[in-house]
């Protein structure tokens, strides 16, 4: 077989954490290889080694038979290796065009280049606003700029790290079509994903990683999903594979419960005067999980921020257990028992340079359980954190590691553990399963169910529709800053929800 890319014996450690363990790989041009694995399996680390962001401790990379040393991302670009990161790498203060052109030789930056960017944009059916800066873009559009940036660099090897996790359902199909076009043109595509159905649809072979090792590279067409799942999970029980439909969890009967949260006629204008939330009304009963579905960027994030006090609504009222909290401070809302798992765990959920135990303690540090004689008790902090680390299976199980040393899924568990403990009346979660693998998603969902079961109202905001449908007692669909419909997840069709998600405001109601 003509193997274009040959990776042999790659090792990489971060301090005590062994992220990659003797990784070997052969790949040819014109194929799409999915990389499947749990959070922390080493998928992103391997990708970062390929694009020169991390230097491997040992091992060799050969391209077309010649050994190459990818010592920097610039070198990677020279060799035609590009990557689209799960967490964006864009310059917020610049436009899409500037972001795409950064770092290119001057000869590739003229008017011709601008025309080609727009051509690529229409080839791939991407909607990108070229007049605004990246900070002003919704998440999905930022992702499209990232993709354009890689495409513009004429890559022969493209690594996609969870590329569809931020795309709207309607954008996924055209995107996958674009990827197939690339593969057909002879590009070697690595597709890091947790979504088995997508892997099925797009990949020729699947490479399964676990604990930094390659567990197997298998042809997708002839490998049952159950086997992929088993390899990915290792020796864990794999009774619940993706193919067997999960038994619907018993839903709480909350018909007689009191309202935990009532949001009435809330409007929010951005400084430019655009209406982000329009007369939004909803209620969450104690013990109920209200799912908010919708395409990314329709005001869901802002809704969570208005409820938790990060943003102040322009008009309207918010009540928690019958008490108005419309103008209460964030601290007061926390004291009232609102827990909040924000969308961006790196920027808002964690302080990455603090240890796991410090991250668990902060915002509650003044409570008696963390104090001894008026001073912070390191030992109490450590003991409480150790219990949580064990209960939430946070890996590596060392509360004294910096939060930055953990993988995305384990970081999310830290945030969740802290916020669940705080949520006595209401838990607001935004995209809690973003970038998480099957096992971690299930774990997070079960924790949230347990919270609701204990009588706490849960507002579950996510763009991953199947997760929303799976967990919610009721699902409210948001579009253009308002609730366009509330449905029962048991008795609804994807088509109905799709219509609600895309309905223009005039056509609704």
């Amino acid at each position: 077989m003509d193997s274009f890319l040959k990776v042999t014996g790659i090792d990489k450690s971060f301090g005590a954490v062994r992220a990659l363990h003797n990784v070997n790989l052969l790949a040819s041009k014109g194929e799409c290889i999915a990389i499947l694995g749990e959070n922390g399996a080493g998928k992103t680390t391997l990708a970062s080694v390929l694009i020169g962001l991390y230097q491997p401790d040992s091992g060799e990379i050969k391209l077309g038979g010649t050994p190459v040393s990818v010592t920097s991302p610039a070198k990677a670009i020279e060799h035609g290796i590009g990557m689209i990161h799960q967490h964006f790498s864009l310059v917020g203060a610049m436009t899409a065009e500037e972001n795409i052109l950064i770092g290119l030789p001057s000869t590739k930056r003229g008017a011709e280049a601008r025309a080609r960017i727009r051509q690529l944009c229409s080839d791939f059916d991407f909607n990108v606003d070229f007049d605004i800066r990246v900070t002003e873009m919704p998440v999905g559009m930022k992702q499209r700029v990232e993709i354009l940036k890689a495409l513009f660099r004429d890559v022969s090897i493209l690594i996609l790290d969870e590329p569809t996790s931020v795309l709207a359902p309607t954008e996924v199909a055209p995107f996958l079509k674009g990827v197939r076009k690339l593969v057909a043109n002879g590009c070697l595509v690595f597709f890091i994903s947790h979504k088995l159905d997508e892997i099925r649809e797009i990949a020729d072979r699947v490479m399964i990683m676990r604990h930094g090792r390659v567990e197997g590279v298998l042809p997708v067409a002839t490998t049952p999903m159950a086997q992929m799942s088993a390899l990915m999970m290792g020796d864990k029980p794999t009774g619940e594979t993706v193919e067997t439909p999960k038994a619907k969890k018993a839903r709480n009967d909350t018909s007689s419960a009191a309202d935990a949260l009532v949001v009435s006629d809330v409007c929010l204008m951005d400084p430019g005067g655009a209406e982000i939330l329009q007369d939004l009304t909803l209620s969450v009963k104690a013990g109920e999980i209200l799912g908010i579905a919708g395409i990314d960027g329709n005001g869901q994030t802002e809704l969570s921020e208005v409820i938790t006090g990060l943003k102040r609504q322009t008009s309207g009222a918010i009540h928690l257990n019958g008490t108005e909290i419309s103008s209460a401070s964030i601290a007061a809302r926390i004291a009232d028992g609102i827990g909040f798992v924000p969308e961006d765990r790196h920027a808002e959920g964690l302080v990455l340079s603090l240890t796991v135990e410090e991250n668990m303690a902060f915002r509650s540090i003044g409570e008696d359980r963390f104090m001894s004689g008026g001073l912070i008790s390191r030992r109490a902090m450590h003991e409480i954190a150790s219990d949580v680390v064990a209960a939430f299976d946070i890996r590596p199980p060392d509360p004294k590691l910096n939060a930055s040393a953990l993988s995305g899924g384990n970081q999310q568990k830290i945030v969740l553990a802290r916020e669940v403990a705080r949520a006595r009346n209401l838990l607001v979660v935004v995209q809690p399963t973003k970038g998480l693998d099957v096992g971690a998603t299930e774990f997070v969902q079960n924790q949230i169910r347990a919270v609701a079961h204990s009588g706490v109202g849960v507002l579950y905001i996510s763009t991953e529709l199947e997760h929303v449908l799976d967990i919610s007692d009721r699902v409210a669909v948001m579009a253009f800053g308002r609730i366009t419909g509330v449905v029962d997840p048991e008795n609804t069709t994807l088509q109905d929800i799709g219509l609600l998600m895309t309905a223009a405001p005039e056509e609704v109601l």
């Binding site: 971060f14 694009i51 962001l53 991390y54 230097q55 920097s72 991302p73 610039a74 670009i77 020279e78 990557m83 990161h85 964006f88 790498s89 864009l90 310059v91 917020g92 203060a93 610049m94 500037e98 972001n99 052109l101 950064i102 770092g103 290119l104 001057s106 930056r109 940036k149 660099r153 930055s404 040393a405």
Partner: protein, 310 residues
């Protein structure tokens, strides 16, 4: 007519006193746009001043003095770059350390070079250049068009720096480094090379401030002659919104305040002159309070870039 003479004097003073601040501020803008604080401007002014004095003293040529000053600035800039980029030292601490080092080192070397006699040695400098026709204009002619060559160099360099930073491709790359070095790195920008370039150029510009002090103003090196200009320049960067042109306008505004206070010292001898001396600093504080709130610095300035940081 007396008022016009006064105005002309103040304008000439503005140009003369504002030029060193403007050079230093320009250097600061280049460094900060590339994501590096250059707190060492003050020390680099001294380095440039000593280099200019020594070069001119040794050869009798002001142009060679200028060259020596620039080389001293480049070296001091690269030293700060090594601390900030390679060693990832806190950039404020590194800059202060550089200021202390250069204050001591220039004082020591000046005694070695010029001997211990009071007042140092007088060196050859630049004389003013009268621009034909323009220098004959009333008021602005003698004040703005009869300046020394470094003032005209400042104007040229400022425009060039603005064009390079805001309009050229490499300038875009440098700004991307200052905003988000990881994004720039992934896009193929040689982040560290760009930062070394920026900090070296920054040091050279700061040194030009010192060169101006020695070769265009007093023709002698004096210990501590930078006298806080490097710190006023830091304020000018913020006031000028991290734009080369803006920073130079802000620096000239500080120069204007200084020129006014000199005039006031002469015209109001009854008032203690110390009160007038605080005027430029007061003006910079007020300007920062009034205008500074809206300013937005490059997003990653002061944060060392570590490629393998997770």
């Amino acid at each position: 007519m007396i008022d016009l003479v006064l105005l002309g004097d103040v304008l000439a003073g503005t140009a003369r006193l504002g030029t060193p601040i403007a050079f230093a501020a320009l250097g600061g803008v280049i460094a900060e746009r590339g994501g590096l604080y250059n707190i060492g401007l003050e020390g680099q002014i001294l380095a440039g001043a000593l280099g200019a004095a020594a070069g001119s003293f040794a050869t009798g040529s002001a142009v060679i003095g200028l060259g020596c000053g620039i080389i001293c600035g480049l070296i001091s800039g690269l030293l700060l770059g090594y601390m900030s980029i390679r060693l990832r030292i806190n950039q404020l601490v590194g800059g202060i350390a550089l200021n202390l080092l250069l204050a001591g080192l220039t004082a020591f070397l000046s005694r070695q070079i010029f001997g211990a006699q009071a007042g140092g040695a007088r060196v050859n400098g630049f004389s003013q250049i009268n621009i034909p026709f323009l220098s004959d204009l009333p008021v602005v002619g003698p004040s703005l068009f009869s300046q020394d060559p470094l003032f005209y160099l400042l104007i040229g360099v400022a425009i060039a720096a603005w064009f390079w930073l805001m309009k050229s491709h490499k300038g875009l790359d440098l700004r991307a480094v200052g905003e988000n070095p990881k994004a720039a790195d992934l896009a193929g920008v040689p982040v560290f090379r760009m930062q070394y370039l920026a900090i070296a150029v920054s040091g050279a510009f700061a040194a030009l401030a010192g060169v101006h002090l020695v070769l265009s103003q007093v023709y002698v090196f004096a210990e501590g002659m930078s006298a806080g200009k490097g710190f006023i320049a830091l304020a000018a960067i913020i006031l000028g919104r991290w734009s080369p042109i803006g920073a130079i306008c802000a620096a000239l505004f500080f120069g204007f305040c200084d020129a006014v206070q000199f005039k006031l010292q002469f015209t109001s001898p009854d008032i203690p002159y110390q009160l007038f001396l605080i005027l430029p600093y007061l003006a910079s504080l007020i300007a920062l309070v009034v205008l500074g709130a809206k300013a937005s610095a490059p997003a990653s300035v002061g944060l060392p870039y570590d490629r393998e940081h997770r």
